[in-house]
Amino acid sequence: MDKQQHIHELIDQYLMGELVGQELDKFKIRLKDDPAFLNQVQIQKAIINSVEIARRDELKAILVDATKPKKGFIIPFGNRSLAVAASILSLLAFGLIIKTMLPQGGEELSQADKTEQTIIKEPIENQKPVSDSAQVVATLDDENQDSLFIPPSPEIALADVVEDDETMDDASILTAESDDVDFAELKKNEDEIDGDEFKAQRDSMLGSKNVVLLAVAYETQASEATTSQEVKTAKKDGLFNRKSKEKSDKKTEVAESAPQKTLKTSPSIGIRVEFWESIVKFKGYKFDGKKLLLFDTPVSTQIGLKSYGNTTFLNKGGTWYKIVPNNSFNQMVRVSNTEILKVLNAK
């Protein structure tokens, strides 16, 4: 361990109240006598404060995220077979609803449509109403298949398979084979489900960081008005003000009469930037004014945020994009206006 590292750790111990006895006395004497040392301790203290704030915000964000409703859904079945059976029953119910919503009888179909139906045999003369779902499954036969004239989809195909067999029970539903549905494939997918719960795939967060939003604005300064009194005030101000005031102080000597416009950049608020991987390969962002979600952006990408006027801009890997705080999924819109780019790229 070199001397500087030792001093660093000594300061750590002092700031955390862990320094005692003679070491503490020595430390305090050095603080009084050595301004450069005091300076180092002050910086270290300020940095630790900032680190603590950043970490606290990170932990808080974990808790806040946990209170938000989940994007995906979890099927509340501990048993896989029950989950699959419930899915098939749901599909059955869906098929039934579609069936009851569609016009009854095949006579309403055009002749052309009828010829396209491979399972149509003949129109039903006397369609009987059904009372419950069990009856529906039992009474569906080849004759009324024509009323199920709906676009082909995997769900409907599944419903059809079940309806083909009047005496099919839950167990046979799960083991039945059909040309329309590949139950072997279905079973294979089911086997891939691990654990007691089935979880839908969802977007995942790859990392996050806090970025300070820098507000950029033009500031008008009347150079001749910069009196010595104002310069004194400027010296009391923080770092940002000092630099701009020093510039204006120099300009006073030139004694220009027209007001000067200077570009001023100052930190405004901290924005939490999260990097997400989208399961649908979405490439864009979501921004609510405080939190920015970036999709398909590597965590290592250099990120900068600036606001100019009422608009927020994102610098992603050296390119500026306009971002809108509408809390919706948006595509990245690249900034092409040269005037704005000039302002954003100004240091």
Binding site: M16, Q44, I62
Partner: protein, 189 residues
């Protein structure tokens, strides 16, 4: 899976000491109803529950990681004591119309070291720009109070010496950015 898990009090302490952040989420779920009831009975609103509960859980997280911590009461009792303290402080602030940034008064005890003359926003910005490894490492050390062994395990470092030297490198880099940003005379009152 862990998200749905309920921990016993001793498990919670173990998980927090190991730096498992899921323990925080578990606590939030377990104690929400209790804290809600307290806040609403004590002049609070629904909007204030989450904030107080989350701040209290984070305080528990930090306290558990202090060297000589031992839980002598039920976790719910301990958490509620913190909730009550925080809430009464908040009520006091409300009535006085003053805003105090608690975050700046947490771990550091050396009150004689004044940093008011430094622009903290610049330092926050530089900290935010740190790479993820440094950010995590410094956070674990200074905020969470994890010992070097726990940090080495969590971050996959070979040993505690690696943690020490990496932490120093991160800090040194940050310190040099801070000093170059500031004009040197800023540091003297």
């Amino acid at each position: 899976m862990l998200l749905n898990k309920r921990f016993s009090d001793s498990q919670l302490v173990e998980e927090i000491k190991a730096g498992n952040e899921e323990a925080l989420v578990s606590m939030q779920k377990s104690y929400y109803a209790m804290v809600k009831s307290f806040i609403l009975k004590n002049n609070g609103t629904e909007d204030e529950i989450d904030d107080v509960l989350q701040d209290s859980i984070i305080a528990v997280w930090r306290n558990v990681n202090k060297p000589h911590f031992s839980l002598t009461v039920k976790m719910s009792t301990y958490l509620m004591a913190i909730v009550k303290n925080l809430w009464y402080k908040q009520l006091k602030k409300k009535t006085r119309f003053t805003v105090v940034d608690e975050s700046l008064q947490e771990k550091i005890t050396a009150d004689d070291i004044k940093t008011d003359h430094l622009d903290h926003r610049i330092i926050h910005q530089l900290v935010a720009e740190l790479d993820e490894t440094c950010m995590k490492l410094l956070g674990y050390f200074y905020f969470d109070g994890f010992d070097n062994k726990t940090i080495a395990q969590k971050m996959g470092f070979a040993n505690t010496d690696t943690v020490k030297s990496k932490k120093y490198q991160c800090f040194k880099r940050l310190q040099s950015s801070v000093t170059t940003k500031f004009n040197k005379e800023d540091f003297f009152n």
